[in-house]
């Protein structure tokens, strides 16, 4: 599987339903045969009855009936095969999409730390959409058209193999032409694509940075640049259309006229020396009209093929990457929320320890605050508790059971987290709290009230039905955190992790978050990454982290009573404040 060409691998998705594929191919074969039969019948009709003047109504009607039959057969089988090929294609894309999405979802969080969201989304939607074109418009078209050309050539050979040879010449000539076109147009095409993506990027950036531009009075300069870019794009496209018109359809049409000339000449020349059948030339002329179209269509789909292969490579790179989050199936339960960390060591990159031999216990229902500098390992500690990463050494236990013994569901339900800048979905407040699960209105309102969000929601124009903007911009940072709190509380967690907002939060909302926390105290084990002094002072215990090590652990008063970082910090503060 590893070294397989992306095309073969993409093809394998289409081969999964062999039965349907076989049906489609058989139908296509019938359709092609029925299609090419028509002109053969007309040839028979002309040469056997019309030209010699044998007027035999019955035989002639029989030919007409056969013609009608083949025509309807061709139409019906063509429709049926096209639908089948499309079902195969859609099914293949759907499978691929689901696989890519599931893979992305299963990636460890560290993957999302490294990969820009935009490119990942592009993998899942745009790339698979390009691949869809491969199935729908490339493979299907290729099979159909190649079959059609072969069918026509066979029919021609049956009629007159010499004339067929003339038409056969058309295939290499057009193929060579298309090759030449590809070679010449590829750089122009590439240039045009680059320019259009530059244009879009420029436009996007201008909209994003419009304020800066206007304040700096740079709009005229940017307008000039944009127009220049747009004109350049126009120029490249003009070059492209010149090439197109020189080499594509007009030329193929002209070659077709040349072919007609060749046919007529050789037919006429033959007739000078030996008798010929008029019907043959009639049939050839009819076939000729259907001959060039498939070839042109194939060439026009080549760029789609190229795009799909590139997209396929990217998608497979994602699909083949290592997935390190094991799925767990265990049935331990969290009933009270006691937390224990024992000699924990953790490193993101195996070289530098972010957590170094940390041990502590939080009895059920207690409120612990973690403090420490940026980079001291506060968030890492909570991420480990959430099992987002696996520690290299040591154990984490909840209710005296190792973390690995809980099912994903149990752990997620009972250990809730409130992030500093929570993600708000572009749907109603209600949906943002319920997160797609069937909670009743009263449960939602209860959670919102517990979180202190209820009164804010009531002030919104449509209350709980108010649709949140992209990224929740119609809520303040503080309110967003309250919403995240409500979202967590609705699951009745036993442990709640809260990452207190560092900045941009007003004292009113801050007080509300604290109030909500104080009400939960005793019922839920609280682990708060604290930035506010008021929060810290209220905690049962304070964990002071420094460079991944737990340097102090105790209540506010205990810590003040000991020599150490905390007292040092605190004394310095009170001293300074006192002086002013």
């Amino acid at each position: 599987m590893d070294k397989q060409h992306p095309f073969m691998r993409l093809l394998s998705y289409a081969l999964s339903d062999r039965k349907l594929l076989r049906q489609a191919l058989i139908l296509l074969l019938i359709a092609t045969a029925a299609e090419v039969a028509g002109p053969l019948l007309i040839k028979l009709f002309l040469d056997d009855y019309v030209v010699p003047g044998h007027w035999q109504p019955n035989a002639m009607l029989a030919i007409g009936g056969a013609y009608l039959f083949f025509m309807i057969l061709a139409a019906a089988t063509n429709y049926l095969q096209a639908v089948r090929l499309n079902i195969i294609a859609q099914h293949a894309v759907q499978t691929l999409r689901e696989q890519v999405f599931a893979k992305a979802m299963a990636m460890p969080l560290s993957y999302f730390d490294r990969t820009p969201t935009g490119s990942l989304i592009s993998r899942i939607t745009n790339d698979t959409e390009s691949i869809k074109e491969l199935y729908v418009n490339v493979i299907g078209t290729f099979i159909q058209n190649i079959m059609r050309i072969l069918g026509i050539l066979i029919a021609m050979a049956l009629l007159d193999w010499q004339l067929m040879i003339i038409c056969l010449l058309f295939v290499p000539v057009v193929t060579a032409l298309m090759y030449l076109y590809q070679r010449l147009s590829a750089p122009i095409f590439h240039q045009a694509r680059t320019l259009i993506s530059d244009i879009n990027a420029r436009l996007h950036e201008t909209i994003q940075g419009i304020k800066v531009l206007q304040l700096l009075g740079q709009e005229p300069r940017f307008r000039r640049d944009f127009t220049a870019l747009s004109n350049e794009h126009n120029r490249v496209r003009l070059r492209n259309i010149k090439l197109d018109s020189l080499l594509l359809r007009p030329l193929v049409d002209m070659i077709q006229v040349a072919l007609l000339a060749g046919l007529l000449y050789s037919f006429g020349y033959q007739s000078l020396s030996s008798p010929v059948e008029i019907g043959v030339i009639y049939a050839f002329v009819t076939y000729l009209g259907r001959f060039s179209e498939p070839l042109i269509e194939i060439t026009q789909r080549l760029s789609l093929y190229q795009q799909a292969i590139v997209a396929g490579e990217r998608v497979f790179t994602l699909l083949d990457s290592d997935n390190t989050t094991p799925t767990r199936h265990a049935d331990a339960r969290i009933h009270s929320g006691k937390i224990e960390f024992r000699h924990l060591h953790f490193s993101y990159n195996d070289t530098q320890n972010v957590i170094n031999n940390v041990s502590f216990t939080i009895p059920a229902g207690q409120f612990h605050a973690i403090i420490g500098h940026t980079g001291s390992g506060k968030s890492t500690l909570t991420q480990l508790l959430l099992r987002f990463y696996t520690p290299q050494q040591g154990e984490i236990e909840i209710d005296n059971q190792p973390l690995e013994h809980f099912s994903e569901e149990e752990l997620r339900q009972r250990v809730g987290i409130v992030q500093q800048d929570p993600f708000i979905f572009n749907s109603s407040v209600r949906d943002n709290i319920a997160m797609g699960q069937p909670f009743s209105d009263s449960q939602i309102m209860h959670a919102a009230t517990q979180a202190g969000l209820h009164e804010h929601v009531q002030r919104l124009p449509q209350g709980y039905n108010t649709i949140m903007n992209e990224r929740g911009s119609n809520l303040s940072t503080g309110q967003r955190q309250l919403l995240a709190l409500a979202r967590t509380l609705i699951h009745n967690p036993k442990v709640l992790i809260l990452d207190e907002a560092t900045a941009n939060i007003d004292s009113h909302t801050e007080a509300q978050i604290q109030k909500a926390l104080m009400q939960l105290r005793g019922k839920i084990t609280l682990l708060v990454i604290a930035h506010r002094l008021s929060t810290i002072e209220k905690a049962d215990q304070i964990l002071v982290l420094n460079h991944g090590e737990l340097v102090q652990h105790g209540s506010h008063n205990e810590l003040l009573g000991m020599e150490g970082v905390y007292r040092h910090l605190y004394e310095m503060q009170t001293l300074e404040v006192g002086e002013q």
Partner: protein, 594 residues
């Protein structure tokens, strides 16, 4: 789905109206369009020749009167026509598509120009994706109207008429009538399929955009999904969405798959009738085999005009909708008038007399009773919690919003008496959320002064404490920012933005919470640099971290849009208000958070 004839007529006329709306462009490019039409007409006439020659040769063969000389002459004529048609086809393609491309470039530039005239309020009400769509997809749709649709319309009509005329007048009107019997039926089916196509396609696009939204949301919210153990639900709902997408696409494919068989059956029936009827008339001596051959070849030429009919309608409809959306944009007048005539102010004395200000569409007062003066050369601090109106005050000062009840004067004259560009050149603003363009670091700093020398740029960068950071990059000042370049930290971005403003050396410098992501030590250094570099000029500093305004000449504390406290740092600390509490609080926090 059945659409009544009236609905269809209305739809047709509204779609056609786009051609009237694009009149100005057709008039502008009348030469291109004229040439194209002339070429198309000539081609329609010329392509009548090959079938005619074919018929002639067939008849000559059938009647055994063909001579090599005649044959060679006919072949030469055929080739001549082929070459001529080739050249004419190149001609119209370049003219017609060239013109339509130009329309696209023109519209795109106009949209861009127009967007740069819009005030921030406009961008709050239109999301980026929607605006982008107008400049991309909608422009393409209008371009298709001016190119493909015009082609299909004109060429379809010309070719159709010429072929019909030649068939009916020069060959046999009886055979023409017979051959055309199935065509109206096909016309009906094509129209019907067109409608089905439209409906299914719209649905497919809707489903795809749902899929896009779903993906976007899931990936952006991955942490949340994992934290809440929502993967199974997310996967299930994603599967449901993809299944819907597939279903919708299959519906499109099913309709699409009907096109070819419909045409095939119609054309086939038409051929059968032609050959059958032709045989009868040949039998009667009214027609020759050669003529029949010519006739069937002409019949093949009618397929395109039938297609063109549906194709044109489809394109016109899409183009029309797109053009309406683009027009909507053009009809949005700039929200801030620019009619001032005063020369640059002599001093930067700022007087604010704001009785009240509300954002359009909002019921809450964003600001009320703000009266203050910023004498030239002083530093003015604005503090207060989130949403207290700090940035609003700056928005008003920069005339990004305006209101009669919010009077602001510079040098004693209301803001709107100055030309907008002149007014804004008085200020150097470092916004809350600094925005960097995907160009080099040097170009980003020199954004407001593209002619600045590298030395000047470096001097400004040094003041903003970013010079050494930049020199640490391999390409230094030529380092690209953004997707194709480096990603900067929030603090680095802020410092670039500060350098950008300092390079302008503006009479008034505004720092809108511009130091929030910079560490305390650097903040101090930058403030000291500012003090030295901006002697005699004004600074307005908005901040959360009060340490940034301790040196200000006056500080106002905003609360719910009104001034709650005001004075110097020392004065404010003396009474136990929000300021002194917050200051003490922050001092402690700063120690805790390092």
């Amino acid at each position: 789905m059945y659409n009544g004839p009236t609905v269809d007529t209305i739809w047709l006329t509204t779609s056609m109206r786009i051609l009237l709306k694009l009149r100005w462009f057709f008039r502008l490019k009348w030469r291109s369009y004229g040439l194209s039409f002339a070429a198309l007409l000539a081609i329609a006439g010329l392509i009548m020749v090959p079938p005619w020659i074919t018929g002639r040769i067939v008849d000559a063969v059938a009647q055994q009167r063909l001579t090599l000389n005649d044959l060679l002459l006919d072949i030469a004529l055929l080739m001549g026509v082929g070459v001529l048609v080739y050249l004419l086809r190149i001609l119209w393609r370049r003219q017609l598509y060239g013109a339509s491309y130009q329309l696209a470039a023109l519209l795109r530039s106009r949209i861009y120009d127009h967007l740069t005239l819009m005030a921030p309020a406009f961008f709050q009400h239109h999301n980026t994706g929607d605006l982008m769509a107008r400049a991309t997809n909608d422009v393409t749709a209008v371009e298709m109207t001016a190119g493909e649709a015009i082609l299909a319309l004109v060429d379809g009509v010309i070719t159709g008429l010429v072929v019909l005329l030649v068939m009916a007048v020069m060959m046999s009107w009886k055979l023409t009538l017979l051959a055309l019997l199935p065509w109206p039926i096909m016309g009906y089916f094509m129209w019907h399929l067109g409608n089905q196509m439209h409906d299914t396609f719209t649905e497919a696009q809707r489903q795809f955009s749902l899929l896009n939204d779903k993906t976007q949301e899931s990936i952006s919210g991955i942490r949340l999904i994992k934290a809440f153990g929502q993967q199974p639900q997310t996967l299930a709902s994603y599967s449901a969405v993809t299944a819907e997408v597939s279903r919708a696409n299959l519906e499109v494919a099913k309709v699409e798959a009907k096109y070819d068989p419909t045409i095939f059956v119609t054309v086939g029936t038409s051929f059968m009738l032609t050959v059958g009827g032709g045989a009868w008339w040949i039998h009667q001596g009214e027609l020759t085999v050669g003529e029949l051959t010519t006739f069937t070849m002409y019949l093949g030429y009618l397929i395109w005009p039938m297609f063109a009919y549906g194709w044109t309608l489809n394109l016109l409809e899409r183009g029309s909708a797109a053009h309406t959306r683009i027009d909507e944009l053009f009809n949005t007048a700039p929200q801030i008038g620019d009619h001032g005539t005063l020369p640059a102010p002599a001093t930067t004395r700022i007087d604010m007399a704001i009785t009240q200000f509300r954002y359009p569409g909002s019921e809450h007062h964003a600001l009320q009773q703000i009266h203050c003066t910023i004498p030239p050369g002083t530093t003015f601090g604005i503090v207060g919690h989130t949403g207290s109106g700090k940035s609003t005050l700056i928005n008003l000062l920069l005339r990004q919003y305006e209101d009669d009840a919010a009077q602001i004067c510079i040098d004693g004259q209301p803001l709107h008496h100055y030309p907008l560009a002149l007014l804004r050149s008085q200020f150097g603003v470092v916004p809350q959320d600094p925005f960097l363009f995907s160009v080099t670091l040097a170009e980003n700093i020199a954004l407001g002064r593209p002619d600045a020398t590298l030395d000047e740029i470096r001097a400004a960068a040094a003041l903003a404490c970013i010079d050494s950071d930049i020199l640490a990059f391999p390409q230094q000042y030529d380092t690209l920012v953004g997707e194709r370049g480096i990603t900067l930290s929030g603090g680095q971005k802020q410092r670039i933005a500060i350098a950008r403003a300092l390079l302008l050396d503006p009479p008034v410098l505004i720092l809108d919470d511009a130091l929030s992501a910079v560490d305390m030590g650097t903040e101090r250094t930058i403030l000291n640099h500012l003090k030295a570099a901006r002697q005699g000029r004004s600074n307005i500093i908005i901040c959360h971290r009060l340490s940034a305004v301790t040196d200000a000449d006056e500080i106002i504390v905003l609360h719910h849009g009104a001034i709650q406290e005001r004075g110097r740092h020392g004065q404010l600390l003396e009474h136990d208000g929000w300021y002194s509490q917050m200051f003490r609080y922050q001092q402690i926090e700063q120690q805790i958070n390092g």
